[in-house]
């Protein structure tokens, strides 16, 4: 899939903690059709990074610093992050 095809978006996704270590990058770029949902993006991420499959129910997705549901539509202007279970304090 080429990123310069009209209608495609390059989505940047930030990774944290164990997810960042599993992928070896703190930010990845996924090329997807325009106006896709969070669920669709996550399935593309798991295709590209199969090492995350065992964590698929152990992270949530934030869009612009808000945890979202899978049917949320995203664009390349949004800030997306995958967040594993938190343990601060």
């Amino acid at each position: 899939m080429r990123s310069d095809i009209p209608g495609n978006d390059k989505i940047k996704v930030r990774l944290f903690a164990i997810l960042r270590e599993m992928v070896g990058e703190s930010e990845i770029t996924i090329t997807v059709p325009a106006d896709i949902t969070v669920n669709h993006l996550n399935s593309e991420i798991l295709k590209k990074y199969p090492q995350l499959k065992s964590f698929s129910n152990k992270f949530v997705t934030s869009v612009n610093c808000k945890v979202t549901t899978g049917d949320t539509i995203i664009t390349s202007k949004d800030e997306i992050a995958l967040l594993p279970p938190v343990s601060g304090g």
């Binding site: 930030r14 944290f16 152990k58 934030s62 992050a81 279970p85 343990s87």
Partner: protein, 138 residues
């Protein structure tokens, strides 16, 4: 004052921030790295944060505490990076007119920071490194 920082935390600076002549009570919670974790001995902890979102969530929690208890001033600072045993990872400080509000707000804030703010810790020992199990954000 809400902050995520790489710097060592200073209780003196936090006390200064909390000064308020109309506050008769000041409650402070200090969280330190201890030498035992869920996976055994710990020599240090690595803390990582999604800082922009973490500060936003901490402000949200601050506003809730403000609404519930009408506190005067609040400081919540979380340190990130590698911290050795005995070092301070978090300080929550609340000043209010009376002690009840200060105690309750301080407890509410630390409990919510631990469950609602995107910060992660990895327990490190000579034998192993392990991310602490935690709570999925909602």
């Amino acid at each position: 004052m809400i902050s995520i920082t790489n710097n060592r935390l200073s209780l003196q600076e936090i006390m200064f921030e909390l000064e308020d002549n109309s506050a008769g009570a000041l409650s402070i919670f200090i969280g330190n790295v201890r030498n035992q974790g869920r996976s055994g001995n710990v020599s240090e902890i690595y803390y990582e944060a999604y800082s922009e979102m973490a500060e936003e969530k901490m402000r949200e929690i601050e506003n809730e505490a403000q609404t519930k208890w009408g506190i005067k001033k609040l400081v919540a600072i979380h340190r990130i990076g590698n911290l050795k045993v005995g070092e301070t990872s978090i300080i929550i400080g609340v000043s209010s007119e009376h002690r009840h509000e200060a105690f309750e707000a301080c407890k509410y804030i630390i409990n919510n920071v631990k469950t609602r703010v995107p910060i992660w810790k990895k327990e490190i020992s000579e034998e192993s490194q392990k991310w602490a199990s935690g709570i999925l954000l909602e």
